[in-house]
């Protein structure tokens, strides 16, 4: 039985050692290089006495970052990717939670790290891969490893302003990769075009199936996602046939009319998720790629990657929504109403997930873990955890799961999961601010921040950029004389949202 995700690598390197595994627009690593370099990194971490602890990987989006992940796994530590563009304030919060003893950098990120008051060891990628690997050391580590040992931590937005680190183990990732590969139809001919950053669990979709089947994954430069024709050219140049993108990346191509000029001619599998695919844009894709498969994916980070899928198999009209479909093999979706009972067929309930795919919980945070990973209320006879997603769903007349809404103030913006509370918390920490409230315009996909306080909008924007990642920065900032409150003294988000929408209507009429 497979106990370690690296068994994928160890199998495939025997079969296709010289094939390109991971590449970008400039370079690529073969499976042999991925194998050799990650074993060097693993050996070196072991010599440094790092074992079963978080290893921060602070690098730019590059194939060497992926190699570093595997190196960390070889040493039986767990990788924690931190984005080079993440603001310091957020990195500090993450470091407070992790208390890491070691960070791996590359030559381009090493200097930035010096700005941080980090007293642990800093290792340089270029030096690590030059280290001689020792098979006996790595075999010894492997013998002691369990499939329930962690392999990574990824951080997700927290409503109180503190990010939460989701810890996943070998078992849940293997479970996910095996099922996902079947759904997407991955094989050795698969060429992935990777859009998602490496610091979210969404990148599991490309990283591990590439190892399992000897496929190839291209990391697409981020700036191409602003320029649709260049992006399509990149896809064609590298003969990319499979993508798993956030919806906004796909709609950027179709809404600008790029498909009328040039189609991604090799693309046969289009998976997407994280947000609702606007039907008009979906139809444009379908029209231009009539033979491609379109697969809607859904799942929270806490249940390892994706948990539900729907492959489009019928016509939809413009007013309809794509279902999120049915659960992955070996995962179960349970809908629970407010009394923790299964609602009637077709009625709404909270989407809860059961199965091996559940992650281990939030790192160094038992309170938050115990709130979301709870005993299955339908099981009164033995311990069994479910993860409560906070998403509301229902079954349609075909028995397919439909996403309805959120229970709380979490939103999806440009594919990222964001707690509006985290944005408010960043604004409220500023001395000049009396009160701040963030709302989300679902139609135009804009985050609007309202605040009361002695600070100009430009200063507010600047301050937020120091605290929040780029994708959380409000798209519109408005100052107010007074914050509207509901009758029981809470921020009146509904009124603010209405006010924003009314104002927009007056402007455009």
């Amino acid at each position: 039985m497979q106990r370690n995700v690296l068994e994928y690598l160890e199998q495939i390197v025997k079969q296709v050692p010289d094939k390109t595994a991971y590449a970008n627009e400039e370079m690529g690593y073969t499976f042999r290089q991925v194998y050799d370099y990650s074993r060097s990194i693993g050996t070196c971490l072991n010599k440094g006495s790092f074992y079963k602890e978080p290893v921060v990987v602070f690098m730019g989006k590059h194939p060497r970052e992926i190699v570093t992940f595997y190196g960390v796994i070889y040493s039986s530590n767990y990788y924690v990717p931190i984005d080079e563009e993440m603001p310091w304030h957020r990195i500090e919060l993450i470091f407070e939670n992790l208390k890491p003893r070691v960070v791996i950098c590359d030559s381009s990120t090493c200097q930035r790290l010096e700005q941080l008051s980090f007293h642990g060891e800093i290792l340089l990628y270029e030096e690590l891969i030059a280290y001689a690997s020792e098979g006996s050391v790595l075999d010894g580590i492997r013998d002691r490893q369990l499939d329930t040992d962690p392999i990574y931590i990824v951080f997700t937005s927290g409503s109180t302003g503190v990010p939460k680190g989701v810890v996943a183990c070998h078992r849940s990732v293997i479970d996910y990769v095996d099922t996902l590969s079947d759904i997407l139809g991955i094989n050795q001919g698969t060429v992935f075009g990777m859009q998602v950053p490496l610091y979210v669990d969404a990148c599991l979709k490309e990283l591990y199936p590439t190892l399992k089947f000897g496929a190839t994954a291209y990391l697409i430069p981020k700036n191409l996602f602003s320029f649709p024709l260049q992006l399509v050219k990149f896809l064609n140049e590298h003969k990319i046939n499979t993508v798993c993108w956030v919806v906004s990346a796909l709609t950027m191509i179709s809404s600008f009319g790029a498909l009328e000029k040039e189609i991604p001619e090799y693309l046969h599998t289009v998976a997407f998720g994280s947000e609702v695919f606007p039907m008009k844009q979906y139809h444009l894709w379908r029209k231009h790629l009539p033979r491609a498969r379109f697969i809607n994916l859904y799942g929270p980070t806490e249940a390892t990657g994706m948990s539900c899928y729907y492959e489009v198999d019928r016509e939809f009209t413009d007013g309809e929504l794509l279902p999120i479909g049915k659960p992955f093999r070996n995962k179960e979706i349970i809908l629970l109403d407010e009394n923790n009972l299964v609602p009637e067929q077709g009625a709404e309930g909270e989407i809860c997930i059961r199965g091996t795919g559940l992650t281990l919980g939030y790192y160094n945070n038992f309170d938050k873990t115990n709130e979301a990973f709870v005993q299955n209320p339908l099981n009164k006879v033995y311990p069994e955890l479910i993860y409560r997603t906070g998403d509301i769903g229902k079954l349609n007349e075909h028995g397919e799961l439909m996403f309805v809404s959120r229970k709380d103030n979490q939103i999806k913006h440009m594919g990222h999961r964001i707690e509006l509370g985290e944005i408010e918390s960043a604004a409220n920490q500023l001395e000049e601010i009396k009160c701040a409230c963030a709302v989300f315009d679902q139609i135009k996909k804009k985050i609007i921040l309202y605040y009361v306080g002695e600070l100009s909008k430009a200063q507010m924007a600047l301050s937020l950029k120091e605290k929040l990642p780029r994708y959380m920065i409000p798209n519109i900032i408005e100052d107010l004389e007074e914050m509207p409150l509901t009758s029981n003294g809470k921020l009146d988000r509904v009124l603010l949202r209405e006010r924003y929408q009314n104002k927009n209507q007056t402007c455009s009429s």
């Binding site: 700036n223 996602f225 602003s226 024709l229 260049q230 950027m252 909008k457 430009a458 600047l462 455009s508």
Partner: protein, 75 residues
Amino acid sequence: MEIIIEILSGLHPEVDFETMDTLIDNKILDSFDIVSIVSDISDEFDITIPVEEIVPKNFNSAKALYAMVERLSEE
């Protein structure tokens, strides 16, 4: 030109768009901004921006955006 500065300032109030000419090269504008700008400019100037024009050099400065709008308005 003023309208363009206004559109850009709405997205990034802290940037001096009169002088900045590396909006793409310095990653000041991201894909979300490009989508907003194209939509706002199309509405304000009543023009359609063809996809061939959505290239980095047309978005690197307010001046470049303005030149593109002028060119498209004449056609």
